[in-house]
Symmetry: C2
Subunit: 297 residues, 2 copies
């Protein structure tokens, strides 16, 4: 499995995900922008908006290569000049506050000396946390993890808790999921096996999230609930711009800004000391934005 | 002039600015929250919202001290364990897109070994750039700078151009202004003189910005102009969260998050490839979001 083949499979994954999301939304269609990167490579940005369910979403495929920027070289302490990176990355912002925001990413990174690693993950950001739904979500992720290694779920779930944490808010971004990086063949798994795991995670996304969409999209919501959503989206912005390494990597490597920042929600609000009433569903949600919760129970 | 005296003068500056903004707005009043910092010190957050002109604004005073976090120590390459920092920082988000967003900051930093420096600046972010107004703004800043050093304006204007630049957008945040940092007595100016300059900048803010507010607030605006404002505010968020060193310093030193992020606009929008019509005022504004423009002419 060489880098071109991996990129090809990621492209097909992007196709399948877009088709599934379009079908599930039932109204909006993706628009595609193909782009080229000055330093080498390019991608396909697929954007969807103003759907029945999806207010704004982006499913990005990219395969870029070239000189490693100094900033990245120093940050990752790498001893090579040229890199190749390919991946699929997506974020969906639904219109209805009862449908969670979702993010999925699978990626492959290779250096000129042959060093490689995979990374990826899926995480869910409900505006209102439903424990049953959180459980189902984590159970499905665990099923895929368990097929490859008995430690994967625990390890990658903990990693997601750490990664999607906003220290200055003392909150996780949502109910987490799994996150992994630097997965290579030094621990006894072959490159093909790791790639198979990564593709299984990628392929899990559409059925997993479409179920969540369908289940929640017909729930009515109040102006207050919409307001809460707009404020929770603010936390999403804070995480993505101030903390997310993927966003920083993209912006630092002269990635296509409009594709990277399609992750920004369509509409957001910030209020100084937004009031959360005692005993409210909003308060209950905040109480669950913690690391280390065993959602499966 | 010791650190406590500087902090006292900064407090009085906060008082004067708040009074001037309240008077100019004519409706909203600041609410104050006093807070203490775990590691040492504290501050006074003054927040104003839903005024005649000001949709959301914050004028912060803080004087904090304690152990220097490792992250900051490494970043600034400092060889001391304890720091003291005091300053006034403000951002105003007006409701009317014809009134520019404004930011002002004056600050003093001292290490236990007696090393100290001042920093600060004022910069304006119009939603629609008016060249005459931009000129007047820069002329006033230059007048104050010229009273202290013939090179100050050029140096600090260029510094603002560099500092308030968003590389991944290839845009400046607005029309700039002045920005300076690490100003100490090693270049022949006494500490008192530097402080006098810093206070003059601080005291310039209220008359300078109140004039801009008053001049523009009665201009009517269309839905399209409001929409443009909500999108330009997105750039403000991108700068503050992804690039602004002050915000990062605050969040890294366990500052009070609600006070730091009161800089976030009340309402923001992001649209993938927001359309700008050829020859429109929006396009003309974008063309002026460049470094190195001589606004005074």
């Amino acid at each position: 499995m060489n880098k071109e083949q991996i990129a090809e499979r990621f492209k097909e994954l992007q196709d399948r995900i877009c088709k599934a999301l379009e079908k599930n939304d039932g109204k909006a269609l993706f628009q595609e922008d193909k782009w080229e990167r000055k330093g080498g490579g390019g991608g396909r940005s697929r954007i969807i908006k103003n759907g029945n369910i999806i207010e704004k979403g982006g499913v990005q495929f990219s395969a870029v290569h070239g000189k490693l920027p100094h900033k990245i070289k120093d940050k990752l302490k790498l001893n090579a000049d040229n890199f190749y990176a390919t991946g699929v990355s997506l974020i969906v912002h639904p219109e209805n506050p009862h449908v969670p925001i979702v993010h999925m990413n699978v990626r492959y990174f290779e250096l000129e000396d042959g060093t490689f690693w995979f990374g990826g993950g899926i995480d869910l950001t409900p505006i209102y946390i439903d424990k049953t739904e959180a459980r189902e979500f984590h159970v499905k992720l665990k099923e895929v993890c368990d097929r490859y290694h008995k430690n994967f779920y625990n390890k990658f779930k903990t990693w997601a808790d750490e990664y999607f944490y906003i220290p200055f808010r003392k909150e996780t971004r949502g109910i987490g999921g799994i996150f992994f990086d630097h997965l290579n063949d030094d621990k006894g798994m072959s490159k093909d096996e790791i790639f198979s795991f990564v593709m299984d995670i990628g392929n899990l996304f559409a059925p997993l999230y479409c179920r969540v969409m369908t289940k929640n999209t017909n729930k009515s919501y109040s102006a207050k609930e919409k307001e809460w959503q707009l404020h929770r989206r603010g936390r999403y912005v804070e995480f993505n711009l101030a903390l997310d390494k993927g966003t920083q990597f993209g912006l630092d490597t002269n990635g296509r800004t409009e594709s990277i920042l399609v992750s920004m929600p369509p509409e957001v609000k910030w209020t100084y000391q937004y009031e959360i009433l005692k005993g409210s569903r909003e308060e209950k949600t905040c109480q669950l934005l913690r690391k280390g919760i065993n959602w499966i129970g």
